[in-house]
Protein backbone atom coordinates (compact mmCIF):
# COMPACT_ATOMS: atom_id res chain seq x y z
CA UNK A 1 0.00 0.00 0.00
CA UNK A 2 1.46 3.40 -0.94
CA UNK A 3 2.11 5.89 1.84
CA UNK A 4 -0.23 8.37 0.21
CA UNK A 5 -3.09 5.95 0.05
CA UNK A 6 -2.50 4.85 3.62
CA UNK A 7 -2.47 8.45 4.83
CA UNK A 8 -5.76 9.11 3.09
CA UNK A 9 -7.30 6.02 4.65
CA UNK A 10 -6.16 6.98 8.11
CA UNK A 11 -7.42 10.53 7.70
CA UNK A 12 -10.81 9.21 6.63
CA UNK A 13 -10.87 6.92 9.63
CA UNK A 14 -10.00 9.83 11.93
CA UNK A 15 -12.91 11.81 10.52
CA UNK A 16 -15.22 8.89 11.11
CA UNK A 17 -13.97 8.57 14.67
CA UNK A 18 -14.51 12.28 15.25
CA UNK A 19 -18.09 11.92 14.04
CA UNK A 20 -18.65 8.74 16.02
CA UNK A 21 -17.52 10.29 19.29
CA UNK A 22 -19.33 13.56 18.59
CA UNK A 23 -22.65 11.82 17.93
CA UNK A 24 -22.54 9.11 20.59
CA UNK A 25 -24.62 10.45 23.42
CA UNK A 26 -26.69 8.96 26.26
CA UNK A 27 -30.37 8.37 25.76
CA UNK A 28 -32.83 11.22 26.03
CA UNK A 29 -33.65 12.05 29.65
CA UNK A 30 -30.45 10.57 31.09
CA UNK A 31 -28.88 13.98 31.70
CA UNK A 32 -31.84 15.21 33.76
CA UNK A 33 -32.22 11.94 35.64
CA UNK A 34 -28.59 11.84 36.65
CA UNK A 35 -28.62 15.47 37.70
CA UNK A 36 -31.65 14.84 39.91
CA UNK A 37 -29.99 11.79 41.43
CA UNK A 38 -26.94 13.85 42.23
CA UNK A 39 -29.04 16.58 43.79
CA UNK A 40 -31.00 14.03 45.82
CA UNK A 41 -27.77 12.72 47.34
CA UNK A 42 -26.69 16.10 48.65
CA UNK A 43 -26.92 16.50 52.42
CA UNK A 44 -29.95 18.40 53.69
CA UNK A 45 -27.86 21.24 55.11
CA UNK A 46 -26.24 22.01 51.75
CA UNK A 47 -29.64 22.17 50.07
CA UNK A 48 -30.88 24.51 52.78
CA UNK A 49 -27.69 26.57 52.46
CA UNK A 50 -28.27 26.96 48.73
CA UNK A 51 -31.95 27.77 49.23
CA UNK A 52 -31.08 30.42 51.78
CA UNK A 53 -28.33 31.68 49.50
CA UNK A 54 -30.70 32.11 46.59
CA UNK A 55 -33.17 33.97 48.79
CA UNK A 56 -30.29 36.15 49.97
CA UNK A 57 -29.55 37.01 46.35
CA UNK A 58 -33.17 37.99 45.89
CA UNK A 59 -33.14 40.28 48.89
CA UNK A 60 -29.88 41.91 47.89
CA UNK A 61 -31.60 42.91 44.69
CA UNK A 62 -34.55 44.37 46.66
CA UNK A 63 -32.98 46.35 49.52
CA UNK A 64 -36.24 48.09 50.40
CA UNK A 65 -37.66 44.95 52.07
CA UNK A 66 -37.60 45.44 55.86
CA UNK A 67 -35.14 43.19 57.66
CA UNK A 68 -37.85 41.94 60.02
CA UNK A 69 -39.90 40.66 57.10
CA UNK A 70 -36.80 39.00 55.70
CA UNK A 71 -36.21 37.20 58.98
CA UNK A 72 -39.81 35.95 59.17
CA UNK A 73 -39.70 34.80 55.57
CA UNK A 74 -36.43 32.95 56.11
CA UNK A 75 -37.89 31.12 59.10
CA UNK A 76 -40.86 30.07 56.98
CA UNK A 77 -38.61 28.96 54.11
CA UNK A 78 -36.30 26.98 56.39
CA UNK A 79 -39.24 25.43 58.22
CA UNK A 80 -40.92 24.44 54.98
CA UNK A 81 -37.65 23.00 53.69
CA UNK A 82 -37.22 20.87 56.79
CA UNK A 83 -40.79 19.61 56.57
CA UNK A 84 -40.47 18.77 52.90
CA UNK A 85 -37.13 17.04 53.30
CA UNK A 86 -38.22 15.08 56.34
CA UNK A 87 -41.03 13.46 54.39
CA UNK A 88 -43.75 14.92 56.59
CA UNK A 89 -46.96 15.68 54.74
CA UNK A 90 -48.55 19.06 55.06
CA UNK A 91 -51.79 17.85 53.57
CA UNK A 92 -54.14 15.09 54.58
CA UNK A 93 -54.15 13.26 51.31
CA UNK A 94 -52.49 10.06 52.45
CA UNK A 95 -54.36 6.98 51.37
CA UNK A 96 -53.64 3.48 52.51
CA UNK A 97 -53.03 0.70 50.07
CA UNK A 98 -52.58 3.17 47.26
CA UNK A 99 -55.88 2.81 45.47
CA UNK A 100 -58.42 4.84 47.43
CA UNK A 101 -59.69 7.79 45.47
CA UNK A 102 -61.10 9.91 48.26
CA UNK A 103 -58.66 12.74 47.83
CA UNK A 104 -58.27 14.01 44.28
CA UNK A 105 -60.38 17.17 44.68
CA UNK A 106 -57.36 19.05 45.93
CA UNK A 107 -55.43 22.02 44.68
CA UNK A 108 -53.92 21.44 41.25
CA UNK A 109 -50.31 20.42 41.17
CA UNK A 110 -49.91 19.93 44.89
CA UNK A 111 -46.77 17.82 44.52
CA UNK A 112 -44.94 20.58 42.67
CA UNK A 113 -43.34 20.03 39.29
CA UNK A 114 -43.39 16.38 38.36
CA UNK A 115 -40.68 14.33 36.70
CA UNK A 116 -41.62 13.04 33.27
CA UNK A 117 -42.26 9.34 32.76
CA UNK A 118 -40.73 7.92 29.61
CA UNK A 119 -39.97 4.67 27.86
CA UNK A 120 -36.40 3.52 28.31
CA UNK A 121 -35.79 0.56 26.03
CA UNK A 122 -32.51 -1.18 26.54
CA UNK A 123 -32.41 -0.90 30.31
CA UNK A 124 -32.80 -3.87 32.57
CA UNK A 125 -32.99 -3.96 36.35
CA UNK A 126 -29.72 -4.46 38.19
CA UNK A 127 -31.18 -7.41 40.06
CA UNK A 128 -33.20 -8.96 37.32
CA UNK A 129 -33.27 -12.31 39.02
CA UNK A 130 -35.55 -10.90 41.70
CA UNK A 131 -37.48 -8.37 39.66
CA UNK A 132 -41.26 -8.65 39.78
CA UNK A 133 -43.53 -9.56 36.95
CA UNK A 134 -42.94 -11.16 33.61
CA UNK A 135 -42.73 -7.93 31.70
CA UNK A 136 -38.99 -8.14 31.26
CA UNK A 137 -38.59 -11.84 31.39
CA UNK A 138 -37.37 -13.15 28.08
CA UNK A 139 -38.55 -16.69 28.79
CA UNK A 140 -42.06 -15.78 27.73
CA UNK A 141 -43.48 -14.63 24.46
CA UNK A 142 -43.39 -10.89 23.93
CA UNK A 143 -44.10 -8.87 20.82
CA UNK A 144 -41.17 -7.58 18.82
CA UNK A 145 -40.89 -4.00 19.99
CA UNK A 146 -39.35 -1.13 18.10
CA UNK A 147 -38.59 2.22 19.73
CA UNK A 148 -36.48 3.84 17.04
CA UNK A 149 -37.33 6.59 14.55
CA UNK A 150 -40.52 6.12 12.53
CA UNK A 151 -42.89 8.17 10.44
CA UNK A 152 -46.04 8.17 12.53
CA UNK A 153 -49.68 8.66 11.65
CA UNK A 154 -52.68 8.48 13.98
CA UNK A 155 -55.50 6.37 12.55
CA UNK A 156 -57.28 5.26 15.72
CA UNK A 157 -60.03 6.59 17.94
CA UNK A 158 -59.54 8.08 21.37
CA UNK A 159 -61.44 5.95 23.89
CA UNK A 160 -62.39 8.77 26.24
CA UNK A 161 -63.66 12.27 25.64
CA UNK A 162 -61.77 13.58 28.61
CA UNK A 163 -59.56 11.96 31.20
CA UNK A 164 -59.77 12.17 34.94
CA UNK A 165 -56.79 10.51 36.55
CA UNK A 166 -54.97 11.60 39.69
CA UNK A 167 -51.23 11.45 40.27
CA UNK A 168 -50.02 9.19 43.07
CA UNK A 169 -46.83 9.62 45.03
CA UNK A 170 -44.77 7.49 47.38
CA UNK A 171 -41.76 8.41 49.47
CA UNK A 172 -38.74 6.17 49.10
CA UNK A 173 -38.84 3.76 52.05
CA UNK A 174 -35.96 3.16 54.40
CA UNK A 175 -34.64 0.08 56.13
CA UNK A 176 -37.12 0.36 59.01
CA UNK A 177 -40.09 0.10 56.65
CA UNK A 178 -38.52 -2.90 54.93
CA UNK A 179 -38.03 -4.47 58.37
CA UNK A 180 -41.69 -3.83 59.22
CA UNK A 181 -42.78 -5.45 56.00
CA UNK A 182 -40.57 -8.47 56.64
CA UNK A 183 -41.96 -8.83 60.13
CA UNK A 184 -45.49 -8.74 58.71
CA UNK A 185 -44.73 -11.83 56.59
CA UNK A 186 -42.94 -13.61 59.43
CA UNK A 187 -39.31 -12.97 58.49
CA UNK A 188 -36.43 -11.55 60.48
CA UNK A 189 -33.35 -9.72 59.32
CA UNK A 190 -30.41 -11.64 57.97
CA UNK A 191 -27.78 -9.11 59.02
CA UNK A 192 -24.72 -10.94 57.78
CA UNK A 193 -25.64 -10.55 54.11
CA UNK A 194 -27.29 -7.18 54.37
CA UNK A 195 -24.29 -4.91 54.32
CA UNK A 196 -23.38 -3.58 50.89
CA UNK A 197 -25.76 -5.87 49.08
CA UNK A 198 -27.82 -3.08 47.53
CA UNK A 199 -30.93 -4.37 49.27
CA UNK A 200 -33.04 -2.51 51.74
CA UNK A 201 -33.01 -5.76 53.64
CA UNK A 202 -32.50 -9.49 53.35
CA UNK A 203 -34.49 -11.74 55.66
CA UNK A 204 -35.22 -15.30 56.55
CA UNK A 205 -38.46 -16.84 57.71
CA UNK A 206 -39.64 -20.35 58.33
CA UNK A 207 -38.68 -22.16 55.10
CA UNK A 208 -38.33 -19.03 53.00
CA UNK A 209 -36.00 -16.14 52.27
CA UNK A 210 -37.04 -12.59 51.53
CA UNK A 211 -35.28 -9.62 49.98
CA UNK A 212 -36.50 -6.05 49.69
CA UNK A 213 -35.07 -3.80 46.99
CA UNK A 214 -35.14 0.01 46.94
CA UNK A 215 -36.36 1.97 43.94
CA UNK A 216 -34.25 1.48 40.84
CA UNK A 217 -34.42 5.10 39.66
CA UNK A 218 -32.85 4.66 36.25
CA UNK A 219 -35.72 2.50 34.97
CA UNK A 220 -37.54 3.42 37.20
CA UNK A 221 -38.90 0.50 39.19
CA UNK A 222 -40.56 0.95 42.56
CA UNK A 223 -39.32 -0.82 45.72
CA UNK A 224 -40.20 -4.48 45.60
CA UNK A 225 -39.92 -7.70 47.52
CA UNK A 226 -38.87 -11.16 46.37
CA UNK A 227 -39.84 -14.17 48.41
CA UNK A 228 -38.43 -17.64 47.74
CA UNK A 229 -39.35 -20.82 49.60
CA UNK A 230 -36.37 -22.94 50.60
CA UNK A 231 -38.22 -26.06 49.48
CA UNK A 232 -40.79 -25.26 46.78
CA UNK A 233 -44.29 -26.46 47.71
CA UNK A 234 -45.59 -28.97 45.19
CA UNK A 235 -48.64 -27.69 43.30
CA UNK A 236 -48.58 -30.16 40.42
CA UNK A 237 -51.99 -30.52 38.85
CA UNK A 238 -53.43 -27.48 40.57
CA UNK A 239 -54.83 -24.50 38.68
CA UNK A 240 -51.85 -22.09 38.56
CA UNK A 241 -54.08 -19.17 39.54
CA UNK A 242 -55.33 -20.98 42.60
CA UNK A 243 -51.84 -22.20 43.48
CA UNK A 244 -50.46 -18.65 43.19
CA UNK A 245 -53.23 -17.11 45.26
CA UNK A 246 -52.83 -19.80 47.91
CA UNK A 247 -49.09 -19.22 48.06
CA UNK A 248 -49.42 -15.44 48.35
CA UNK A 249 -52.23 -15.84 50.87
CA UNK A 250 -49.92 -17.75 53.23
CA UNK A 251 -47.94 -14.54 53.64
CA UNK A 252 -50.84 -12.07 53.33
CA UNK A 253 -49.31 -10.88 50.05
CA UNK A 254 -52.35 -11.17 47.77
CA UNK A 255 -52.40 -7.78 46.01
CA UNK A 256 -54.80 -5.27 47.53
CA UNK A 257 -54.69 -3.05 44.44
CA UNK A 258 -56.88 -3.61 41.35
CA UNK A 259 -55.33 -6.16 39.08
CA UNK A 260 -55.86 -8.65 36.32
CA UNK A 261 -54.33 -12.10 36.45
CA UNK A 262 -52.64 -13.74 33.48
CA UNK A 263 -50.92 -17.09 33.22
CA UNK A 264 -47.98 -17.64 30.89
CA UNK A 265 -46.35 -20.98 30.28
CA UNK A 266 -43.01 -21.88 28.74
CA UNK A 267 -41.79 -25.45 29.01
CA UNK A 268 -42.02 -26.50 32.63
CA UNK A 269 -42.28 -22.94 33.83
CA UNK A 270 -45.53 -21.13 34.61
CA UNK A 271 -45.70 -17.50 35.54
CA UNK A 272 -48.82 -16.10 37.18
CA UNK A 273 -48.79 -12.36 36.83
CA UNK A 274 -50.93 -9.82 38.65
CA UNK A 275 -50.89 -6.71 36.48
CA UNK A 276 -51.31 -3.67 38.67
CA UNK A 277 -53.98 -1.09 37.92
CA UNK A 278 -55.23 2.17 39.40
CA UNK A 279 -58.92 2.90 39.85
CA UNK A 280 -60.12 5.91 37.87
CA UNK A 281 -62.51 8.44 39.41
CA UNK A 282 -64.90 8.13 36.47
CA UNK A 283 -64.94 4.33 36.66
CA UNK A 284 -62.68 1.71 35.16
CA UNK A 285 -59.00 1.22 35.72
CA UNK A 286 -55.72 2.15 34.10
CA UNK A 287 -52.88 -0.36 34.15
CA UNK A 288 -49.34 0.38 35.24
CA UNK A 289 -46.73 -0.08 32.51
CA UNK A 290 -42.96 -0.32 32.75
CA UNK A 291 -40.16 1.25 30.71
CA UNK A 292 -41.03 -0.68 27.57
CA UNK A 293 -44.76 -0.19 27.92
CA UNK A 294 -45.50 -3.65 29.33
CA UNK A 295 -47.97 -4.17 32.16
CA UNK A 296 -46.45 -5.37 35.39
CA UNK A 297 -47.15 -5.86 39.06
CA UNK A 298 -46.69 -8.94 41.22
CA UNK A 299 -45.93 -12.45 40.05
CA UNK A 300 -45.64 -16.01 41.23
CA UNK A 301 -43.19 -18.37 39.57
CA UNK A 302 -43.98 -22.07 39.28
CA UNK A 303 -41.25 -24.39 37.98
CA UNK A 304 -41.84 -28.06 37.27
CA UNK A 305 -44.84 -28.15 39.56
CA UNK A 306 -43.28 -26.29 42.48
CA UNK A 307 -43.73 -22.65 43.56
CA UNK A 308 -40.22 -21.24 43.39
CA UNK A 309 -40.85 -17.62 44.23
CA UNK A 310 -43.05 -14.57 44.32
CA UNK A 311 -42.29 -10.92 43.91
CA UNK A 312 -44.14 -7.65 43.78
CA UNK A 313 -44.14 -4.01 44.78
CA UNK A 314 -43.53 -3.24 48.41
CA UNK A 315 -46.82 -2.06 49.97
CA UNK A 316 -46.42 1.69 50.39
CA UNK A 317 -48.74 4.50 51.37
CA UNK A 318 -49.60 6.74 48.44
CA UNK A 319 -50.62 10.37 48.40
CA UNK A 320 -52.96 11.41 45.60
CA UNK A 321 -53.66 14.71 43.96
CA UNK A 322 -54.88 16.04 40.64
CA UNK A 323 -52.98 17.87 37.96
CA UNK A 324 -54.17 19.65 34.87
CA UNK A 325 -54.04 17.17 31.98
CA UNK A 326 -53.60 17.85 28.31
CA UNK A 327 -56.43 17.33 25.85
CA UNK A 328 -56.79 14.31 23.60
CA UNK A 329 -55.89 16.43 20.57
CA UNK A 330 -52.72 17.61 22.26
CA UNK A 331 -51.90 14.05 23.27
CA UNK A 332 -52.20 12.85 19.67
CA UNK A 333 -50.11 15.75 18.43
CA UNK A 334 -47.45 15.02 21.05
CA UNK A 335 -47.40 11.34 20.09
CA UNK A 336 -46.82 12.14 16.44
CA UNK A 337 -44.15 14.73 17.17
CA UNK A 338 -42.36 12.93 19.98
CA UNK A 339 -38.71 12.00 19.66
CA UNK A 340 -38.09 8.26 19.47
CA UNK A 341 -37.25 6.55 22.75
CA UNK A 342 -34.28 4.88 21.09
CA UNK A 343 -31.91 5.98 18.38
CA UNK A 344 -31.39 2.43 17.16
CA UNK A 345 -33.04 2.48 13.82
CA UNK A 346 -34.32 0.30 11.06
CA UNK A 347 -33.55 1.50 7.53
CA UNK A 348 -35.50 2.68 5.71
CA UNK A 349 -37.31 4.41 8.56
CA UNK A 350 -40.63 2.59 8.87
CA UNK A 351 -44.01 4.25 8.46
CA UNK A 352 -46.30 3.26 11.30
CA UNK A 353 -50.01 3.82 11.74
CA UNK A 354 -50.65 4.26 15.43
CA UNK A 355 -54.13 2.80 15.66
CA UNK A 356 -54.67 2.04 19.31
CA UNK A 357 -54.28 3.92 22.54
CA UNK A 358 -54.66 2.98 26.18
CA UNK A 359 -54.84 5.13 29.28
CA UNK A 360 -52.06 3.82 31.55
CA UNK A 361 -50.00 4.81 34.54
CA UNK A 362 -46.22 5.09 34.34
CA UNK A 363 -43.73 5.64 37.12
CA UNK A 364 -41.27 8.52 37.28
CA UNK A 365 -38.82 9.05 40.11
CA UNK A 366 -37.17 12.21 41.39
CA UNK A 367 -36.01 13.76 44.63
CA UNK A 368 -36.49 10.58 46.62
CA UNK A 369 -40.10 10.16 45.59
CA UNK A 370 -41.90 8.04 43.05
CA UNK A 371 -44.82 9.38 41.04
CA UNK A 372 -47.41 7.26 39.27
CA UNK A 373 -48.58 9.51 36.47
CA UNK A 374 -51.35 9.04 33.91
CA UNK A 375 -50.23 8.69 30.31
CA UNK A 376 -51.48 7.52 26.96
CA UNK A 377 -49.71 4.53 25.46
CA UNK A 378 -50.12 4.70 21.68
CA UNK A 379 -49.22 1.69 19.60
CA UNK A 380 -49.21 0.44 16.05
CA UNK A 381 -47.56 -2.35 14.10
CA UNK A 382 -45.48 -2.63 10.96
CA UNK A 383 -43.69 -5.36 9.07
CA UNK A 384 -39.97 -5.60 8.52
CA UNK A 385 -38.10 -8.54 7.00
CA UNK A 386 -41.19 -10.69 7.29
CA UNK A 387 -41.72 -10.01 10.99
CA UNK A 388 -44.29 -7.87 12.71
CA UNK A 389 -43.05 -5.18 15.05
CA UNK A 390 -44.94 -3.03 17.51
CA UNK A 391 -44.13 0.64 17.90
CA UNK A 392 -45.11 2.20 21.23
CA UNK A 393 -45.21 5.86 22.14
CA UNK A 394 -45.83 7.03 25.71
CA UNK A 395 -47.38 10.47 26.11
CA UNK A 396 -47.50 11.80 29.68
CA UNK A 397 -50.83 13.49 30.30
CA UNK A 398 -49.85 15.98 32.98
CA UNK A 399 -49.58 19.42 31.41
CA UNK A 400 -45.94 19.96 30.35
CA UNK A 401 -45.80 23.27 32.21
CA UNK A 402 -46.37 21.32 35.43
CA UNK A 403 -43.52 18.94 34.72
CA UNK A 404 -39.80 19.52 35.15
Amino acid sequence: MSDNKEDLELEALQRELDDAFATTRPRRGFEDELWMRMQARRPLWTRLRDAIGSWGELFREAPAIPLGAVAVLLIVVIGAGILINSGLHLNQTATSGGTSLSAPDLALGEFGKLPTPALHPGLVPAATAQAPGAAYNSSFDQPNLYFGPATLRWTGQMPLQSVQAPVYRYAEPGVSLADQFAASVGASSNKQVQSGSGFLGTYSGQAFTLTVQPTEPQLPLEPYFSLAPTSPPNVSGADPRVAAATFLGQYSLVPSWPNSVTVQQSGGRVLVQYSRAFQLPGGGVAYLVNWIGQRYGASVDINNGGVTGASGPLPLNLDATTYRLISNDDAVRTALESAPASTQTIQPVPAVDLNSVELVYALAFARGQGYYEPAYLFSGTFSYNGQTYTKRVLVPLVDPTLRS
Binding site: L17, D18, A20, L145, Y146
Partner: protein, 171 residues
Amino acid sequence: MAADRPPFEDVYRDYLGRIYAYVRAQVGVSADAEDITAQVFMNAYQAYDRFEPRNLTPAAWLFRIARNATLDHFRASGRRDRLQRTIEHQPEVEEDPSAMAEERIQYRALLAHVARLPERQRDAISLRHSGLSFEEVGRLMSCSEDAAKMLYHRALKALRDAVAGEEQAVE
Protein backbone atom coordinates in the same frame (compact mmCIF):
# COMPACT_ATOMS: atom_id res chain seq x y z
CA MET B 1 -15.31 28.06 45.69
CA ALA B 2 -12.16 29.11 43.85
CA ALA B 3 -12.71 32.16 41.69
CA ASP B 4 -11.66 30.40 38.48
CA ARG B 5 -13.57 27.20 39.08
CA PRO B 6 -16.69 27.09 36.89
CA PRO B 7 -20.01 26.07 38.47
CA PHE B 8 -20.29 22.28 38.52
CA GLU B 9 -23.55 22.52 36.62
CA ASP B 10 -21.64 24.02 33.66
CA VAL B 11 -19.00 21.31 33.79
CA TYR B 12 -21.73 18.68 33.95
CA ARG B 13 -23.57 20.11 30.97
CA ASP B 14 -20.40 20.57 28.91
CA TYR B 15 -18.84 17.18 29.53
CA LEU B 16 -21.62 14.65 30.15
CA GLY B 17 -21.91 13.71 26.48
CA ARG B 18 -18.15 13.49 25.92
CA ILE B 19 -17.58 11.38 29.00
CA TYR B 20 -20.43 9.09 28.03
CA ALA B 21 -19.02 8.64 24.51
CA TYR B 22 -15.57 7.86 25.92
CA VAL B 23 -16.97 5.28 28.33
CA ARG B 24 -19.28 3.84 25.70
CA ALA B 25 -16.34 3.25 23.37
CA GLN B 26 -14.49 1.51 26.18
CA VAL B 27 -17.18 -0.87 27.40
CA GLY B 28 -19.26 -1.36 24.27
CA VAL B 29 -22.58 -1.66 26.11
CA SER B 30 -24.81 1.38 26.56
CA ALA B 31 -26.32 0.26 29.87
CA ASP B 32 -22.85 -0.19 31.38
CA ALA B 33 -21.77 3.13 29.89
CA GLU B 34 -24.65 4.88 31.65
CA ASP B 35 -23.81 3.22 34.97
CA ILE B 36 -20.17 4.21 34.74
CA THR B 37 -20.93 7.73 33.53
CA ALA B 38 -23.30 8.18 36.47
CA GLN B 39 -20.59 7.00 38.84
CA VAL B 40 -18.07 9.37 37.26
CA PHE B 41 -20.25 12.42 37.81
CA MET B 42 -21.34 11.34 41.28
CA ASN B 43 -17.67 11.06 42.24
CA ALA B 44 -16.80 14.31 40.50
CA TYR B 45 -19.64 16.14 42.22
CA GLN B 46 -18.47 15.00 45.62
CA ALA B 47 -14.86 15.89 44.88
CA TYR B 48 -15.46 19.18 43.09
CA ASP B 49 -14.57 21.31 46.11
CA ARG B 50 -11.11 19.77 45.97
CA PHE B 51 -10.65 20.25 42.21
CA GLU B 52 -7.90 22.77 41.55
CA PRO B 53 -8.28 24.23 38.05
CA ARG B 54 -4.87 25.90 38.16
CA ASN B 55 -3.22 22.48 37.90
CA LEU B 56 -5.64 20.66 35.63
CA THR B 57 -8.33 21.45 33.09
CA PRO B 58 -11.85 20.22 33.93
CA ALA B 59 -11.57 17.91 30.90
CA ALA B 60 -8.37 16.26 32.08
CA TRP B 61 -9.75 15.97 35.62
CA LEU B 62 -13.02 14.39 34.50
CA PHE B 63 -11.41 12.03 32.02
CA ARG B 64 -9.04 10.84 34.72
CA ILE B 65 -12.03 9.98 36.91
CA ALA B 66 -13.74 8.34 33.94
CA ARG B 67 -10.66 6.34 33.05
CA ASN B 68 -10.30 5.06 36.60
CA ALA B 69 -14.00 4.21 36.78
CA THR B 70 -13.77 2.30 33.52
CA LEU B 71 -10.70 0.38 34.66
CA ASP B 72 -12.51 -0.44 37.92
CA HIS B 73 -15.43 -1.67 35.88
CA PHE B 74 -13.23 -4.07 33.94
CA ARG B 75 -11.47 -5.23 37.07
CA ALA B 76 -14.60 -5.75 39.07
CA SER B 77 -15.05 -9.35 39.97
CA GLY B 78 -18.15 -10.96 38.62
CA ARG B 79 -18.39 -8.62 35.68
CA ARG B 80 -18.73 -11.50 33.29
CA ASP B 81 -21.52 -12.97 35.42
CA ARG B 82 -23.30 -9.68 35.51
CA LEU B 83 -23.05 -9.25 31.78
CA GLN B 84 -24.32 -12.75 31.28
CA ARG B 85 -27.28 -12.11 33.55
CA THR B 86 -27.99 -8.88 31.75
CA ILE B 87 -27.91 -10.57 28.37
CA GLU B 88 -30.13 -13.37 29.60
CA HIS B 89 -32.73 -10.93 30.85
CA GLN B 90 -32.67 -8.47 28.00
CA PRO B 91 -36.13 -7.84 26.66
CA GLU B 92 -36.46 -9.11 23.11
CA VAL B 93 -36.51 -5.57 21.88
CA GLU B 94 -32.77 -5.46 22.44
CA GLU B 95 -32.20 -8.44 20.26
CA ASP B 96 -34.49 -7.97 17.33
CA PRO B 97 -34.91 -4.73 15.38
CA SER B 98 -31.89 -3.08 16.86
CA ALA B 99 -29.70 -6.10 16.25
CA MET B 100 -30.76 -6.16 12.64
CA ALA B 101 -30.24 -2.46 12.33
CA GLU B 102 -26.86 -2.57 13.96
CA GLU B 103 -24.77 -3.28 10.88
CA ARG B 104 -26.47 -0.35 9.22
CA ILE B 105 -25.31 2.00 11.91
CA GLN B 106 -21.81 2.75 10.83
CA TYR B 107 -20.65 4.40 14.01
CA ARG B 108 -21.92 1.70 16.31
CA ALA B 109 -19.94 -0.81 14.32
CA LEU B 110 -16.88 1.41 14.43
CA LEU B 111 -17.14 1.86 18.20
CA ALA B 112 -17.49 -1.89 18.58
CA HIS B 113 -14.15 -2.26 16.79
CA VAL B 114 -12.65 0.34 19.12
CA ALA B 115 -13.94 -1.58 22.13
CA ARG B 116 -12.14 -4.72 20.89
CA LEU B 117 -8.72 -3.06 20.61
CA PRO B 118 -6.07 -3.79 23.26
CA GLU B 119 -6.58 -1.68 26.37
CA ARG B 120 -3.98 1.02 25.81
CA GLN B 121 -4.75 1.41 22.12
CA ARG B 122 -8.45 1.63 22.90
CA ASP B 123 -7.77 4.23 25.54
CA ALA B 124 -5.55 6.33 23.29
CA ILE B 125 -8.14 6.40 20.51
CA SER B 126 -11.00 7.15 22.88
CA LEU B 127 -9.25 9.91 24.78
CA ARG B 128 -7.91 11.58 21.66
CA HIS B 129 -11.28 11.58 19.87
CA SER B 130 -13.01 12.78 23.02
CA GLY B 131 -11.19 16.04 22.42
CA LEU B 132 -8.05 15.76 24.53
CA SER B 133 -4.64 16.95 23.33
CA PHE B 134 -1.80 14.45 23.00
CA GLU B 135 -0.20 16.10 26.00
CA GLU B 136 -3.34 15.41 28.05
CA VAL B 137 -3.62 11.87 26.68
CA GLY B 138 0.01 11.23 27.61
CA ARG B 139 -0.45 12.61 31.10
CA LEU B 140 -3.51 10.45 31.68
CA MET B 141 -1.77 7.37 30.35
CA SER B 142 1.46 8.07 32.24
CA CYS B 143 3.61 8.52 29.17
CA SER B 144 5.15 11.37 27.19
CA GLU B 145 3.30 13.37 24.56
CA ASP B 146 5.40 11.71 21.82
CA ALA B 147 4.70 8.26 23.21
CA ALA B 148 0.99 9.06 23.24
CA LYS B 149 1.18 10.10 19.59
CA MET B 150 2.94 6.87 18.64
CA LEU B 151 0.50 4.78 20.59
CA TYR B 152 -2.41 6.58 18.97
CA HIS B 153 -1.10 6.05 15.45
CA ARG B 154 -0.44 2.38 16.09
CA ALA B 155 -3.97 2.11 17.43
CA LEU B 156 -5.37 3.89 14.41
CA LYS B 157 -3.65 1.45 12.05
CA ALA B 158 -4.83 -1.52 14.10
CA LEU B 159 -8.36 -0.16 13.94
CA ARG B 160 -8.14 0.34 10.18
CA ASP B 161 -6.92 -3.24 9.76
CA ALA B 162 -9.74 -4.56 11.96
CA VAL B 163 -12.38 -2.67 9.98
CA ALA B 164 -10.85 -3.77 6.67
CA GLY B 165 -10.63 -7.36 7.87
CA GLU B 166 -14.30 -7.41 8.68
CA GLU B 167 -15.24 -5.85 5.36
CA GLN B 168 -13.26 -8.52 3.53
CA ALA B 169 -14.92 -11.23 5.60
CA VAL B 170 -18.35 -9.86 4.65
CA GLU B 171 -17.44 -9.79 0.96
